[in-house]
Amino acid sequence: MSDLRLEELVNAELDGHLSAREAEELKRLLAASTDAGDTRQALHDTDRLLRTLPAQPFPEFLHHRILAAIRLPEQKTRSGLAAWLGQLTRTKPLRYGLAAAAALVVAVTLNETAELRSHDMSTSDMVGSVMPHQGDQEYSVIDRLEIDTTDYSGDFRLERRSGQLAINVVLNANRPIDIAVDLTRAGVQFDSLTETHGRLESVSTSTSQVRLHGTGRKQFTILLRRDEKAETAGTAVIHLDFSRNGEVIGRETLHPSN
């Protein structure tokens, strides 16, 4: 008996391609040898195992990430980081290269129609001391940072909510990204963090710095409190450092004094 022939017939049987003549041949082979029966059973079991393997769960963020990548608008003219990244991403291979890099890129989907309104915060997701924003109270945007490149875009709003400063962030990270928010020269200190959409993979905080690591679509708010000892009036600045794999890829600023 040919093992290969037996396997061919069993494979045809598995795929529903066994002719009547081949079915008879298979029957004869199985009757002639118990080993043949074992081989047939093993192939059937392998087939069954593959068929019962569950589909890999589809990542929640991926659909929107792909849509954002397909629909990203023309890059805005902006000095510094955005212009530099624009030069890199104008070439197709580089676009794929950046997209495929194991490093992190922050992409924030801009919502041009979003109203400037307060955000409800979930106290269960807060880090640090908690001072939730409540209802319709005084609200203004002090400074706003929009980053828009082929690989990432972002919306960072420094807001004043009833006297408290907050940085509201909307992100869409194609790949994991590290963001360091440096408050050393800001005249403010870290108070608490609320994740309103998605969960950041890691967060570490001190009074003068917030470090975040995340992937996919995230929305969170960093609440700040005034640093009474600070002497930065008129020159206050919040530094935002974006990095991937330990390498800084961009630096931006927000100005609490605007």
Partner: protein, 161 residues
């Protein structure tokens, strides 16, 4: 394009995952597949089926990623011993990992036909169209792949209950 994305993103992701064994890589590949499809949609020949075109991109992108990772391994038929047949249900996560591990031990050609047949629900003709190979070759590769998987699963300790 969004309709096509909605229809094919999950099977493309699942195919990429089964080719690569890594969810992050599969997500990246899935994104690359649709970016390429979007950018090259004008070159798509309507005489062909869209699924075979997009699955071909997915398989090729996955293979390119594997080459970059340099993790493709051949299974030497002479080395792997026959063992007891695999019978446990794949719903068990440990078993599922072993099956995935066994699949990753196949070469790219064998793994591609297994992925298209079992995870993209392609028949011989559809696999032939997607990979641009003869149906006879599909049949032969599927047969070899199953044989290798049977042995590899036994090697991974999946024994009869």
């Amino acid at each position: 394009m969004e309709d096509l994305l909605t229809e094919y993103e999950k099977p493309v992701f699942n195919a990429a995952f089964r080719m690569l064994g890594n969810s992050d890589d599969a997500a990246d590949i899935t994104q690359n597949v649709f970016l390429k499809a979007f950018e090259n949609i004008r070159s798509f020949n309507p005489g062909h089926r869209f699924f075979s075109w997009i699955y071909r991109i997915a398989i090729n992108e996955s293979i390119d990623q594997l080459k970059r990772r340099d993790r493709a391994q051949w299974v030497d038929e002479e080395i792997i011993d026959d063992g007891p047949a695999p019978q446990k249900c794949a719903a068990d996560s440990e078993v599922a990992e072993k099956i995935q591990s066994a699949m990753l031990s196949l070469n790219d050609n064998h793994r591609a036909v297994i992925v298209l047949h079992y995870f993209c629900e392609c028949d011989y003709r559809q696999i032939s169209e997607t990979l641009d190979i003869a149906e006879k070759t599909v049949k032969s590769r599927l047969c070899s792949a199953r044989r290798l998987l049977k042995r590899q699963l036994a090697h991974h300790g999946l024994k009869p209950s």
